[in-house]
């Protein structure tokens, strides 16, 4: 495995993914704020959560890009269209299974069935994260396609 190439393109892909999601929020295509969502796993402070969440998201990006790199090696090639395909699978997983599991993983997230409690006060994402805006799945999909495209096009064995 080419570690420096993984680190570089994993970082670039994560930055682009984060930028697309933040831009989508700014354009009101979605309300989903990934750094805030991740950061509140660690702190209730809104400002600190966004900073911590950003760092966690960056690490997550590297971790997930490792799976992409493993797939590239298993298939013996790294191309933009392969990256795009893995990105599609990744986004589909995040939107369906990932969002469904999130209330169980997140210590401050309420569940649809029980509603908010003193500890769990955050709105859960719901199926396809539709609670965060009806165009959220589209934003998430585009961001992950871009992530995969960058890794596939950039990574060198």
């Amino acid at each position: 495995m080419n570690t420096s190439s993984w680190l570089l393109w994993g970082f670039v892909g994560t930055v682009v993914l984060t930028t697309i999601m933040a831009g989508s929020q700014g354009m009101r295509l979605t309300r989903m704020n990934i750094p805030f969502m991740l950061g509140t796993m660690f702190t209730p402070s809104r400002d600190r959560a966004k900073l911590v969440g950003f760092l966690v998201h960056l690490l997550n990006g590297w971790a997930f890009s490792l799976v992409y790199v493993a797939a590239f090696h298993a298939l013996g090639r790294a191309t933009w269209w392969l990256g795009l395909g893995i990105g599609f699978v990744h986004a589909s997983f995040v939107l369906t299974a990932g969002m469904q599991f999130l209330p169980g993983l997140h210590p401050r997230m309420a569940s649809e069935h029980h509603g908010p409690t003193v500890v769990r006060q955050l709105e859960p994402p719901g199926f396809l994260a539709l609670n965060y805006g009806v165009r959220t799945p589209v934003s998430v999909l585009i961001a992950h396609l871009a992530f995969g495209w960058i890794l596939g096009a950039g990574y060198r064995f």
């Binding site: 929020q25 009101r28 979605t30 309300r31 989903m32 704020n33 805030f36 969502m37 509140t40 702190t43 209730p44 402070s45 809104r46 400002d47 600190r48 401050r108 997230m109 309420a110 649809e112 069935h113 029980h114 509603g115 908010p116 409690t117 003193v118 006060q121 955050l122 709105e123 859960p124 994402p125 609670n131 965060y132 805006g133 959220t136």
Partner: protein
């Protein structure tokens, strides 16, 4: 539609809501003061509201929980009594690290104090000044979701909430003595939204009480009318936009200066004109952090246009939204048009530089130090004044009838140069063309003394060679242009009282074709009291007048821009920072005089003392 004076205001230093004595929130803009309204029933019954009151006929009273901006509305019916407590949660910066808080929230707590009372909540959102699209959906235990273009709102409560015709959310319950309910409305631009459960509401209430009481404990005022001064300070703090330090003139738009008239303007912006008076009020009361934040906002927000200054800015120092009329809204008791945005931004008002420089002088007086960039900026202001003081302008009252040579603007040009020279003399400001500034300052003085003094009226008049008086002339003494006990000032005061007196100590700002039927102007009336306290009258006269004027506040101690001289109730945008600033400054001046101190100290200390830097 309910009258202006029948309202209290709640807020969180980012946005504010007006709550009527009938328990109806009929003005709310989220997420910022100048955002489009979500509830706008104050301007049109169809523009959205949130009512919460007994279903049976009732009488009601309002009050603030002492020392806070937490509002209580107490209802009495034939069957019993309930109290509704309204607030936007506010906590200290330290507590924010420990608590997960919604971006914006209104909490309404209901407690039955005796007997049996059925209470009903009707929440009818109409976002985007009642023109925005919205969709209401029941999300079960997560509340009722209101999707708007501005963001998501979530309504929750401890009673079942029903969606009626996709247009409103209703809930009602019969309460018996000791029963409690809560209702919450959250706004979220970020997801996931934070949803406070019922058990947290009481905790947030305690936090909010502690926050406001902690804030008000910094108040250093022990003079006359302390209660009114404390309420004014709390009202002013509600108009501060905490993230930037800006102070908006009022949280409302288009509440009319005259009911049925067209003098309806959007005041949800920050006027530089208010700078000097506001900074003095905040420093005088001991709120040094707020005053310094406001000075910093002044200096930062004006950087893009210096040395020219806009008349007004939004809370982040940008140009206000383009002025437009909302024809679909009927206006407050038919007062049309309803305007949003403000075109006064395009006017030339030559007094603005004087007010900003005077605010900076207050800052230095309190130990602040100027950085190099601020010094350069101040010098450029002086240069601008020297180049343009001879031009006519729109003046302090922003009439839209053309430019004139206003006395007040000239006096403020003098104030700008005089303060710059004083700052230079004391070593705070380097690199100024002393001779040019001094020469221009003296020319302005001569111009005012010869052409703004009308020997026939025996008064300073509103414009050069003019024939009418203007209440802004009372500030001539305040700014140190003329001693308050000089013959000219005494004569001017007497003429203003005679020509602009509205009875009961009230003053109109001016009388002209622009102002038929306009109410008395709040801050001008307080300028009258302050002029007396400054030395233009006796202590007793000043105190009597101040007490009389404070008596025109509404039930919860708030003032609008104007005061109806017949009914003695608020008119214009509400509550109005400028009026409360006038009250505070008059009280401060009187308090100083009662303690035998120089009522209005204009000296600037030498630049060898330590202090914070303006940047």
């Amino acid at each position: 539609m309910e009258e202006i004076h029948d309202h209290g205001v709640i807020g969180n230093c980012r946005s504010a809501a007006l709550v009527s004595r009938r328990g109806t929130i009929d003005w709310l803009c989220w997420p910022r003061f100048d955002s489009p309204s979500i509830f706008g029933a104050l301007l049109d019954d169809r523009a959205g509201h949130w009512s919460l009151h007994p279903t049976a006929p009732f009488s009601s009273r309002q009050r603030y929980v002492p020392g806070t901006n937490v509002l209580e509305t107490r209802f009495r019916t034939a069957g019993g009594s309930v109290v509704v407590t309204d607030f936007m949660p506010a906590v200290s910066e330290e507590e924010k690290h420990e608590l997960l808080l919604a971006e914006h929230e209104i909490l309404r707590l209901v407690r039955c104090e005796g007997g049996e009372v059925e209470i009903e909540s009707v929440l009818r959102p109409r976002p985007g000044y009642a023109q925005g699209a919205f969709r209401i959906r029941d999300a079960g235990k997560l509340g009722v979701r209101i999707h708007t273009d501005q963001g998501l709102m979530i309504a929750r409560g401890s009673v079942p909430l029903a969606i009626v015709d996709g247009e409103e959310i209703r809930g009602r319950k019969l309460l018996r003595e000791g029963d409690e309910l809560y209702f919450s409305l959250v706004f979220a631009a970020d997801a996931p939204a934070v949803l406070a459960p019922g058990e947290s509401c009481r905790k947030l209430y305690e936090h909010t009480l502690r926050f406001w009481r902690g804030w008000v404990s910094k108040l250093r005022y022990h003079g006359p009318m302390r209660e009114a001064v404390e309420r004014s300070a709390l009202a002013l703090e509600l108009l501060v936009y905490a993230p930037s330090g800006a102070v908006v003139a009022a949280p409302t738009t288009s509440l009319p200066e005259r009911v049925g008239g067209d003098l309806n303007w959007d005041y949800r912006y920050c006027w530089l004109r208010d700078a000097s008076l506001t900074v003095r009020a905040l420093f005088g009361l001991g709120f040094d952090d707020e005053a310094e934040a406001f000075v910093s906002w002044l200096l930062h927000s004006t950087r893009l246009t210096q040395p020219r200054l806009r008349v007004l800015y939004d809370v982040y120092g940008n140009a206000p939204a383009r002025e437009r009329e909302l024809d679909h809204l009927g206006g407050y008791f038919g007062s049309r048009p309803v305007r949003v945005g403000n075109a006064a931004d395009e006017q030339l008002q030559l007094d603005v530089h004087g007010e900003v420089v005077d605010a900076v002088a207050h800052f230095v007086r309190r130990g602040g130090r100027l950085d190099l960039e601020t010094e350069r900026m101040l010098v450029s202001f002086g240069d601008y004044v020297c180049r343009r003081w001879t031009e006519p302008d729109e003046g302090i009252w922003e009439p839209r009838s053309g430019r004139r040579h206003h006395t007040h603007s000239l006096v403020l040009c003098w104030v700008a140069l005089d303060n710059l020279l004083r700052l230079h003399d004391q070593g705070h400001l380097a690199g100024i063309p002393v001779e040019r500034f001094a020469r221009t300052r003296d020319r302005i003085r001569r111009e005012v003394e010869t052409r703004a003094w009308n020997p026939r009226l025996r008064a300073y008049v509103s414009e050069l060679e003019g024939e009418t008086v203007d209440a802004s002339a009372l500030l001539i003494a305040w700014y140190g242009f003329e001693p308050p006990d000089s013959e000219r000032m005494r004569l001017t005061y007497a003429r203003i009282r005679e020509a602009l007196g509205a009875g009961g100590g009230l003053l109109y700002r001016y009388r002209s074709a622009d102002s038929p039927g306009e109410a008395a102007f709040g801050i001008c009336s307080f300028w009258g009291a302050e002029y007396l306290a400054l030395g233009g009258g006796s202590v007793e006269e000043a105190q009597d007048l101040l007490e009389t004027l404070c008596g025109y506040a509404n039930e919860v101690g708030l003032f609008g821009e104007e005061i109806d001289p017949v009914r003695r109730v608020a008119a214009g945008n509400f509550p109005q920072a400028f009026t409360h600033v006038g009250l505070v400054n008059a009280a401060l001046t009187l308090s100083h005089r009662l303690r035998g101190r120089t009522p209005h100290h204009r000296g600037i200390p030498a630049a060898d003392s330590e202090g914070g830097a303006a940047s």
